[in-house]
Symmetry: C2
Subunit: 262 residues, 2 copies
């Protein structure tokens, strides 16, 4: 495994560039600490297995991440990209490859005053073999973000049946009849690290989420490993009710926070 | 637009690496000439429009390709990757970007004695906004190639309904009741340059192609811009009949050839 940081360049033969043949994780960094690193490494490990990327040492990735975080104590986030490495032309990976680990960091923008969310017209393709993992094939998200208005904090993406799957950069929770609901991610979408945390810390019903469900939800929440739990203020132009005590409690307990509840 | 050739490296902030946010074309090169360059540039242009990549000069790409081909007269193929360029973190493209054009070249492997083809279990996701164009989100093809036996020259990929869409690296034509048929590519798959040539030079019925259709086809053909038209000898372990005179004639007239008909 080759580790690249800072302004490092990547070989133009890298399969990450040619095919999106790799994975990524974006971790929240707080004073040089990475509170959700275990969950990130578990998901990364599932992705490595799914793509059959060889010669990866997860313990090394952990120590590289920790070292990088300590060296960039002012960073709010650290992103890792793990590619399969360089290859000759053709979809078949070479028998031996040297994966590339690319580390970068940055700071969060200030949270907007109101969190406005809409539903995207860009469908999320169904692909069970790639569902859940955080791979580098992200054009649907790029197209959805391009299509969304600048004022939109986030847009929810639907599968081919029009069911809600997740946001462009978040997982989605709806409180319906006082029950938290989140869509299943076995066919498309990402198994978010904060989604996992919420499912462990609260009673959550994982099921199909329709657009009608969202209309009758008393709360909509977005989760993201860097931003924690964010309450939606306006959904499709309609103001949402104030969040429940249960949600306020959840946000307070969450390991990372971006925007506190008013 | 920045042009990178040879062993050049790409900035680790390139959106091609982060999201597969870009396009590619692989052109056949014959003694420094690029016989299908017009069709490649037309498809590239459709991709640029679909992804809304800005600041691209197609005339420059054409002259860079021609120059590169003349400098690599022994190459059988030239590949271009066009990425949106570098970006800050996040799916939204920056207001201004400088696209990167990466050029590489190589030679074809010797054609196998028999062309054996199977059907892949890896589904091709439906995504009308990305269908037809040659974008960099190629993990389904990587997974399909990994899953196919080494002895398989090519594997056909199906959509979620089990209908044939294309091969991992080719478009598919079947001759059924003496009529050439090829699947529609408006929902997924690639509008191949050689597919376009065949559709212009022969009478082709563009329609849904089922797996049952393939079982009763008298011929199966694979098209690819670098390899031209290739006749399938064995499909799912079953030898196919000898190709028709019409197919022999088509292969002879094709602008590029990889493997002549026995």
């Amino acid at each position: 495994m080759r580790v690249l940081t800072g302004n490092a360049e990547v070989a133009s033969t890298d399969r990450g560039l040619h095919y999106g043949d790799g994975l990524f994780e974006t971790l929240r960094c707080q004073q040089g600490e990475l509170p959700l690193i275990d969950a990130h490494l578990r998901r990364l490990s599932r992705g490595i297995e799914r793509l059959a990327i060889v010669a990866v040492d997860l313990a090394s990735i952990r120590s590289e991440l920790s070292l990088y975080a300590r060296h960039h104590r002012d960073a709010d986030w650290i992103k890792l990209i793990l590619t399969r490495g360089s290859g000759t032309r053709g979809y078949a990976p070479p028998q031996t490859t040297v994966p590339n680990l690319v580390l970068s960091h940055g700071n969060l923008p200030a949270a907007p005053e109101r969190i406005s969310v809409t539903i995207s017209d860009v469908p999320l393709p169904t692909q069970p073999l790639l569902a859940g993992i955080k791979h580098l094939n992200r054009l649907p998200q790029v197209l959805a973000r391009q299509a969304a208005a600048d004022a939109c904090y986030e847009a929810m993406m639907c599968d081919a049946d029009g069911h809600i799957v997740c946001g462009i950069m978040s997982n989605v929770f709806a409180r319906i009849d006082n029950q938290l609901v989140t869509p299943d991610t076995s066919q498309c979408g990402v198994d978010g690290v904060m989604r996992e945390w919420v499912c462990e810390c609260a009673s959550v019903n994982v099921r199909t989420l329709t657009q009608d469900d969202l209309q009758r939800a008393s709360e909509l929440l977005l989760t993201n490993a860097v931003r924690g739990i964010v309450v939606v203020d306006d959904f499709e132009g309609r103001p949402m009710p104030a969040p429940s005590d249960a949600t306020r409690d959840l946000i307070t307990r969450a390991p990372v926070i971006y925007r506190s509840v008013a």
